[in-house]
Homo-oligomer: 290 residues x 2
């Protein structure tokens, strides 16, 4: 499954829908993104988010803050963005400097602007099947499965990893009564015994544990669908940068057995951004009826 291609397709569709909004005199979606400090990976992530906004025709505001900003100053900034009607979605690029509480930051953003879907209320609403923003990475996986018309109903999905950001939400979303969903879902983690046996039963495996090349061919049933959420920098002398990006799946070993598989990079990564754009669009459209 080609995340770059599908991400582009999602963004193209959003671009059209945004042009329609403009022609109808409706509000243009507006994402406000906060970047603190000078982390290299964060710079890369945030700049591709901002770039996606401009490709689609969204407004975006990138707010750069110094590493030394106090927690209170950041929370005040968020309150200001909460109150700004023109801003539809707010995201704070993680991780944060150690002196700032991630949880406080997440809980300060209004659930109605929480396009990352990390607020406890957003998570609770997702669990209960109420309208809300799905967290971007698992939502990106759903968009990918949908694009390739992967059947999920009655299928056995094995999720490896139970993080708040990916493993836990995707396991809930795929067992809900909707499409993609209605799967029988097993959540595995570091305490799981017989992991190989369990994976071998899976029609769909979501690898989201953060261990490079963990999933091998002897854990995968012939014809399975494999989604690789891992993205770890591994030292690599052959690369100019000195490192290469590895997923949680040993792609070369596993790919022959799969009916569908996502590469790393170019799989789930770009879909995360597409999902964020979808959420921003929805946050804006939700205001139409106000």
């Amino acid at each position: 499954m080609d995340g770059k291609l599908v991400s582009q397709a999602v963004k193209d569709r959003l671009k059209q829908q945004t042009e329609v909004r403009i022609s109808e005199g409706k509000k243009i979606p507006h994402l406000a993104a906060i970047l603190i400090g000078n982390n290299g990976a964060s710079e890369t992530y945030i700049s591709s988010k901002v770039k996606s906004c401009s490709e689609i025709g969204f407004k975006s505001t990138l707010i750069r803050l110094s590493e030394s900003i106090s927690e209170l100053q950041l929370l005040n900034k968020l309150t200001e963005l909460n109150e700004d009607f023109d801003v539809d979605g707010i995201l704070v690029q993680l991780p944060l400097p150690k002196h700032i509480s991630e949880q406080k930051v997440i809980e300060t953003i209004y659930p109605s602007k929480d396009v990352d879907g990390f607020h406890p209320e957003s998570v609770g609403r997702m669990v209960q099947g109420l309208p809300t923003f799905y967290p971007a990475t698992p939502y990106g996986i759903l968009l990918l499965l949908e694009h390739y018309k992967v059947e999920t109903k009655g299928k056995h999905v094995v999720v490896i990893g139970r993080s708040n950001i990916v493993g836990r939400p995707i396991s809930i979303m795929l067992s809900k009564n909707e499409y993609p969903g209605n799967a029988t879902v097993t959540v595995c983690h570091s305490h799981t015994s017989h992991l190989n046996e369990i994976c071998l039963q899976a029609d769909i495996i979501i690898a989201a544990l953060g261990k490079p090349e963990f999933l091998k061919a002897d854990m995968v049933k012939q014809g399975a669908v494999v989604v690789d959420v891992g993205i770890t920098r591994v030292e690599d002398q052959r690369k100019k940068s000195g490192f290469s990006i590895k997923g949680d799946v040993d792609f070369q070993d596993v790919s022959d057995k799969c009916s569908f598989i996502t590469p790393v990079p170019g799989g789930v990564g770009p879909m995360t951004i597409a999902a964020l754009m979808m959420n921003t669009f929805k946050a804006c459209a939700a205001k139409d009826s106000i």
Copy 2:
């Protein structure tokens, strides 16, 4: 596993802890319960909750409202209870009359007084591992497993049913990194294929689908732990009342194979009330530091 006995043990412990609070001049836990209309089952549930409060030494306020109360009147009543410092926990006995939105009622109760654990924010905080109130029935199941020192780490738990009230939350709670928890959890539901095979792999089965005597011996591995959450009224001419209460497990068929099993009635039911009392105590104790 004897829910009556363990429920009593939990309540006895709470009674002691409440006496300690009183001797220290601290606030007495206070539960406010709202009952609307004259549903027979609701009357039974709410009166055993109120009775439990008085056994333990909690204050309780039972508010009876007529079936014809408007939604706004009910929400106003809830706001009043939210603002009343003396009230620690608020519960509204479900189901509600059709003209009142259950969701609005649930979301009006302050998360800090949401001892039923049904507010989206409570659910999200549970998922994310933040301090919160666990919904009463799954919390009661945890208390039961804890009392009988049932090992859950690395065990395979199969949950049948994905309701917001039981199946979904217990599946999340048992796969969290705590005790009881750290299990490998599979969520099954009406679209699950090969349910028998999946159940046969389970070390622990939680039956929460609401179909009387659904789980049979040929679905249960020798030595498994079976928790029966079902509680359905089935016509029974031999009973004076004209009905008997059936669980989701065919107890006679299954019990010989189990290392532990809960009966119905007298299993999970009484534990739900014990869990509610635990939550009310915690809601009160959380105010000590204010």
